[in-house]
């Protein structure tokens, strides 16, 4: 499904990595590992098409990415909170879905927030939530937006023990349903199996 070959990236004069390649099939996930500054985040941004690669090619379902189809099948969650502080979690979720052109009614959005343990917080401005709770608002998008490929950069940061387990379960369910995931993390991840890629 996802085929990556010959990927190279440099920042300024520094070569981060050359000739990185891997492939993912339905139900598989990739753990991108490496020290600080080894280019994990650069790699993720390159994979989703935010920045151009120096060399290499990414194919999604046999077609060159990034394409509209690729973006439709992709969820990327990076370091940023990517939520609006002045809006409530409910508004954030529903507006993000509307921008993506995905239908999402209030019931669906509420169900996702409750699953992520934000019951009773859905009408508060995000501003008053804690860092971990903000992160959960963002993660709720994994439930409201159907996508085959999850690219999660340091998604386990700022999460408490319960949330780490919850996200692990979400990813496991996603994989069991034939999805794919690419994760970065320093610590061991609570998801079984998985290919490893060390930068």
């Amino acid at each position: 499904m996802l085929n990556v070959s010959g990927l190279a990236c440099s920042r300024g004069e520094r070569r981060l990595f050359v000739d990185v390649g891997f492939s993912l099939a339905a139900g598989e996930w990739l753990h991108v590992q490496g020290d600080n500054g080894s280019g994990k985040t650069s790699m993720m941004r390159l994979l989703v098409g935010l920045s151009p690669a120096d060399a290499g090619a990414i194919f999604w379902r046999g077609e060159r990415a990034p394409s509209v189809e690729f973006r439709r099948d992709l969820i990327y969650l990076g370091h940023h909170a990517a939520v609006k502080e002045d809006l409530t979690p409910l508004e954030n979720l529903r507006l993000a879905a509307a921008l993506d052109g995905v239908a999402l009614d209030e019931r669906g959005a509420l169900a996702a927030l409750i699953r992520l343990g934000l019951r009773g917080r859905e009408e508060l401005p995000v501003r008053v939530l804690s860092a971990g709770q903000k992160r959960r608002v963002l993660l709720a998008r994994l439930l409201t937006r159907p996508a085959d490929l999850w690219v999660l950069d340091e998604a386990f940061n700022a999460l408490d023990v319960a949330a780490v387990k919850l996200l692990g379960d979400l990813i496991a369910e996603h994989l069991a349903a034939g999805g794919m995931a690419i994760l970065t993390s320093h610590q061991p991840l609570p998801v079984p199996g998985g290919k490893a890629l060390v930068l």
Partner: protein
């Protein structure tokens, strides 16, 4: 198109939660135009002569005031990144943001201009032409300004740089916008001015979102 309207709704909703930011630009417009009679003197003939230019230059600067915020907040909190990766075309979302910017920063100026024009002893028909010219011209300012805002996104000293990049490009809008009112006061036909302003608006509406999108993708790299 739903994504376009969703973007407009989102930006309006965000502005409503933070009214002060919108009101700043409007107050700026009011204060700057009110300063000129104080600096020049209250002579009605002179004020009437310089009114179109002053109101237009003030509108230009007031629009400029809101431009750095057009993409900056979305850039900082990462929502711009999500927009760039959205299945909806980024150009459509950007166009929605520009429209929202005009509704918040341009339209209030259009509505206020007739009131401020009274300070300069403009008669009713001149006020009408002024409003019409601003109605055609301020969206043009938002469109051109968006390119500059995208180019200077996250750049050191971006605000001042933005003014340097955008103000020369505003000159045609200023000339035809202020010129329309001047021509009307001088008893000349204003059709030419207004149709040229409209033509530039159409041209900008077509190209500016596209150029802005390209600039945003570069800023996100």
């Amino acid at each position: 198109m739903n994504a376009f309207f969703a973007t407009v709704r989102r930006d309006l909703l965000l502005a409503m939660r933070r009214k002060s930011e919108v009101l700043t630009a409007v107050f700026f417009f009011v204060i700057v135009t009110s300063l000129f009679p104080l600096g020049i003197g209250p002579e009605p003939v002179l004020l009437k002569k310089i009114a179109p230019g002053i109101l237009w230059v003030a509108a230009l600067l007031a629009t400029l005031l809101g431009l750095p915020r057009l993409f900056a907040a979305d850039h900082v909190d990462g929502t711009l990144e999500q927009m760039a990766l959205s299945p909806s075309p980024l150009g459509l979302l950007v166009a929605g943001k520009i429209l929202a910017h005009w509704l918040l920063c341009g339209l209030p100026l259009v509505l206020l201009a007739p009131v401020l024009g009274l300070q300069f002893d403009l008669d009713a028909s001149a006020l009408g032409i002024l409003t019409l010219a601003l109605l055609l011209g301020t969206p043009l300012l938002s469109l051109i300004g968006a390119i500059g805002a995208a180019l200077t996104l996250g750049v050191r000293g971006g605000g001042v740089l933005l003014a340097l990049l955008v103000l020369p490009l505003y000159i045609p809008a200023l000339i035809f916008g202020a010129g329309a009112v001047e021509a009307h006061i001088a008893g000349l036909d204003v059709g030419g001015h207004l149709s040229l302003l409209a033509a530039m608006l159409v041209l900008a509406a077509f190209f500016a979102p596209w150029a802005t999108t390209a600039a945003l993708r570069i800023a996100l790299e």
